[in-house]
Structure formats: C-alpha cells, structure tokens
C-alpha cells in the first residue's frame, strides 16, 4: 500500500511532495532522483522573455528570505523548444508548468501554445508574484478578474489547472471562491508575503526593488492560517507552501487541509530537503499505521 498517495484535482500523485515554482531545477538531480517527487513544478514562464529585476535581488533576514527576481525566464517559445524537452527527458512524474501574463490574452496565448505540446500534466496559473508590475499579483487581488481569467483559461484546457494565490489580500477566501467558480481544479497557496529590509547604518534598501517577496520559516504560520481558512470554505484541493522545511511542517499543512505540499526556500538550505521530507513522512505514517488521507483536514481544537 502506498500510504503517501494523494490526489490534487485531476492528478494522482505518488506522494504529496512537490517543489515551489522558482526554487527548483533539474540541477537538483545531482543530489537525488527527481522522480521521487510527487510532481515537478517549473519556474514561471511568460509570453515574452523577461530579464528580471536589477540586483541585489536577495537578502536573508532573521527567519526567512527576501527576493525580487522579477520572473526572469526565457519566454514560452524558448521554454517549449529547449526546457520542456529536457524536463520530459528526465522526469516520469507529472510536470506542472507555472505561467503568468500581463493581460488575460497573454495568459490564454501562453496556454494555447503549451496545449499544443505534450508531456505537460497540468498548469499552475501564477497570479500572485509580488515582484512584477503588471503580471501576476495585479490579477490575484481582484476576485472578479480571477473568475474571468480562470473561466477563459478553462475553455483552453482539460488538464489540471492550479491557481496560485497570494496572501497579500484582504480576503483570500473570496479569491479562492472566484477561482473555484471560474473552473479551477485546485489551488496553490501561498505565494510570498510582502517584505522589506533596510541597512540600518546606510539607510539603503537591502533589495534593489525595495518591497519584495518574503519566504521561508517566518511565513509558515501565515501560510498555515491561509490554508486552513481556505480549506474550511472552498472545496478545491490545496497544494500548500510557505516555509515548509521538514516532514513535521508538512504534517501541519495536511492537518490544516492541504492535499499536497511544496518545498521552496528550504531547497537552498538542504538540496535533499524534498526526499528527506518524503522519507520522514513515510516513516512517521508507517509507525502511526495511518495513510496521508487519514490526516488531511483533521486538525482538532
């Protein structure tokens, strides 16, 4: 019996452990067999290549990491020509392509291009990147826009459509509801929380762009609260992320209602974090005589 098996909308996963978009690459194949993951999520791609934001792009604070990469990526054409074949060559697990756009038309154009390829199991619609002006977060904060975007994207694909939500909103549940009504299969939450750091001596912002995205252990309780709130009110399965480092962290998110989880920042700390987490989870559930499905949503008070 595979006690770690889980389902994320249309996707059957051998285990619930994936990677957060933008924190992972085939390079990690140097450290472990990537096909041990439940699924693989790509770095976000956009219609046109993006060179990203000026450096410094990173700064580590007391309990997390600030970043402002700015969705640097080669664009969808190059992704299809060069990156996707490499991914397909190496991976037998579901490949989930993360993408973002500046207008609904850009989103639909990317999706229709991706739909003409094979080897993609699903899509993560990134409407929550805090580090680009037009793309991403401009969409993720308005329920009506989210509904309209997902409705349009739904008409282009039957594959898994995951909507990635930002915590930087007044009411994440209303955004999640809009994604559900629009026809999404599942939700990924949370993207980074807005953050900033300033050198106390020089007064200079640590990250060139100033306000940027904050990830890592500091945001775990925030992510957990968002996952719990959304799980209470929305039926769609949840792919949870935000500060997850260990199998114990992952267990918290399963209890809160997540069907799968992603490791992000912690990949940089421990390149084998994902497999350590899978092994830890498997050992624990085995000892407990439970399956993952027994845990999901079973938080008690």
């Amino acid at each position: 019996m595979n006690r770690l098996q889980t389902r994320l909308g249309k996707l059957e996963l051998q285990n619930p452990v994936t990677v957060a978009s933008g924190t992972f690459g085939l390079e990690y194949g140097e450290f472990f067999d990537l096909n041990r993951l439940g699924a693989y999520v790509t770095k976000t791609i956009t219609l046109k290549p993006k060179i990203g934001n000026p450096p410094p792009r990173l700064y580590e604070t007391e309990a997390g990491l600030l970043n402002s990469i700015g969705l640097q990526n080669p664009g969808v054409e190059e992704f299809i020509k060069l990156n996707l074949p490499e991914l397909k060559e190496v991976l037998s697990i579901p490949i989930i392509v993360s993408f973002s756009g500046g207008t609904i038309e850009e989103f639909t154009t990317i999706l229709s291009k991706l739909e003409r390829t094979d080897g993609i199991a699903g899509y993560e619609v990134n409407i929550s990147c805090p580090n680009v002006e037009k793309e991403g977060i401009a969409f993720g904060v308005d329920a009506l826009v989210v509904y309209e975007l997902i409705r349009r994207l739904r008409s282009f694909t039957n594959k898994e459509l995951i909507v990635k939500l930002t915590p930087n909103v007044t009411d994440i549940v209303s955004i999640a509801n809009a994604a559900e009504e629009g026809g999404a299969d599942s939700m990924a939450l949370i993207n980074t929380v807005q953050g900033m750091a300033i050198d106390p001596l020089s007064g200079k912002s640590r990250v060139k762009m100033g306000v940027c995205g904050y990830s890592g252990p500091a945001i775990k309780p925030i992510a957990l609260a968002n996952v719990f709130k959304v799980a209470q009110r929305v039926k769609l399965p949840i792919l949870a992320m935000g500060g997850i480092c260990t199998w114990q962290d992952a267990m918290e998110f399963f209890y809160a209602g997540a069907s799968a989880i992603a490791v992000g920042t912690y990949n940089f700390v421990n390149p084998k974090a994902c497999v350590d987490l899978i092994d830890g989870l498997d050992n624990y559930l085995s000892e407990k005589g439970a399956t993952l499905q027994d845990i999901i949503g079973k938080v008690s008070f």
Binding site: G25, P49, I51, N53, Y59, E60
Partner: protein
C-alpha cells in the same frame, strides 16, 4: 558537485579579520578548477539559514582550504569553529578560470578577492606562466603576499589604489591576460585599464546567493547579449563567477 557534512581538518586565524578553514574531501579535489567555489553552512544553523559562497583558496593533496573574511553572521560563525567541527558543504560550483594562451599574466586582487586568485596562481605557475601579482586593501590587515602591495591608508606597501599600480605596470610590460577579483569599483577600473591596453581581463564576481547552483536566479549580473535589448542577467553562481570583463555591463 556534491553535498557533504564534513569535519573541519584545521582552522587557522590569519589576523583579526581573516582565517583559513581546510577540509579533506578525498578524491573529489580532482573535480576542482581554479575560481570555483563551495557553499558553506554550519549545520543546524537557523540564522543564517542560507549557505555562503566561498572560493577555493588552495588545495594540498586531498585537502581544500577556504580563506574567509569575517563579514557577517555566517562568516563569524565559521570563524569560531574548531578542527573536528562539522561543516555542510556543496561544491565545487561555478565555471572557474580558464588558463588561456600566452605566457604573461597579471593578477589583481583587492581584500578578500585574494583567495580565488591564489589557487589560480598555483595553476598558472604549473602551466609555466610568468605572473605579476598586485594586491590591495584598505589597511595592512587586508594584505597578503604578492609582488606589489597597495593600501588605502598607506599602512602597508604603496598608498593608494591597486589599480594605480596596474596602470603603471602595464605601461612597461603588456601582459597576455589579466585576472582580477575584488570590490566592484576596483574591477570596473581594471576593466577600463584592460580595455585601454587591449588586454583580455577575466574577473571573478561576488553577489548575494541563495541556491548556488543556478535555479533561483538570485545572484544576477547584467551582461551584454544579442537579444532585442542588448542586455540580460546571468547568474554569478552557475554562469560565473568568472566572466570576461568586456561582457559585463559596468554600472
């Protein structure tokens, strides 16, 4: 490339700011090229959580050593470690220096830019090259053995910037190649001098890093390219840390 938690073989304090840590990585030393680096972390450290990129300073048999300057929390954590304590290391990382044709090389370093060039120097010597090394620092604390020394305050060697020394030296003896590592302003000045004298210059850059292996795009450097806008960002960790200076957009 490997990730290992490994006991420190030795640690030597050079002065109040600089120290050298060495670890025995066995046969893996053979993978290392000059200019490459490792990402170091004290295991179990929650803050700093991220690894720190540290260049290879020297290799003696199967031991690789890192010369480190205390610049922040992580490098202060490493500084008080002892032989036998464990370090979590990933490497070797990055592209490293190529040893080019031609016989005469100049090396220019500033402060903690010294270590990657030291290992390069040993390799250049093995390849039979003639080397002239100019090293500069703020004060005598930042000074290590070289052919010509410069300090900002005159506390060791000549008073002034090391790039002044480069300008003077190159007037009389044009090299085939220059290798440099140090603060951005020094590298930019080296670039201008190299360009004026039509000498190829290879620089090793430093940038705040997270993954160290080319996935997070955190350590960006602006370079010239042939796309529609003429520039793009490359990663210091994977595309670099060594770049040919003429490819970089010096801002």
């Amino acid at each position: 490339m490997f990730n290992r938690i490994i006991a420190i073989n030795s640690i030597e304090q050079l002065n109040e700011s600089y120290y050298v840590i060495s670890v025995d990585i066995g046969e893996s030393v053979k993978e290392i090229r000059p200019g490459q680096f490792f990402e170091l972390k004290k295991p179990e450290s929650c803050y700093p959580m991220l690894r720190k990129p540290i260049s290879v300073y020297d290799i003696q048999s199967t031991k690789v050593s890192f010369m480190i300057k205390k610049l922040g929390k992580a490098t202060e954590q490493f500084a008080v470690m002892k032989a036998g304590d464990k370090l979590d290391i990933i490497g070797p990382l990055g592209n490293g220096f190529s040893i080019t044709e031609g016989n005469k090389a100049i090396i220019v370093s500033g402060g903690i830019g010294y270590p990657p060039l030291y290992y390069l120097k040993t390799q250049l010597e093995q390849a039979g090259k003639t080397i002239y090394w100019l090293h500069g620092g703020q004060t005598s604390i930042d000074i290590f053995p070289a052919d010509e020394i410069w300090t900002d305050d005159g506390s060791a060697g000549n008073k002034g910037f090391v790039t002044e020394g480069l300008t003077n030296y190159i007037k009389n003896q044009k090299p085939d190649v220059i290798y440099a590592c140090g603060p951005k302003a020094m590298l930019k000045a080296c670039h201008q001098i190299a360009e004026r004298n039509s000498v190829p210059l290879f620089v090793s850059l430093e940038e705040y890093m997270a993954c160290g292996i080319g996935v997070c795009y955190g350590c960006a450097v602006k370079v010239r390219t042939d796309n529609s806008i003429g520039v793009t960002y490359k990663t210091v960790c994977k595309d670099g840390p060594v770049f040919e200076a003429k490819d970089i957009v010096w801002e």
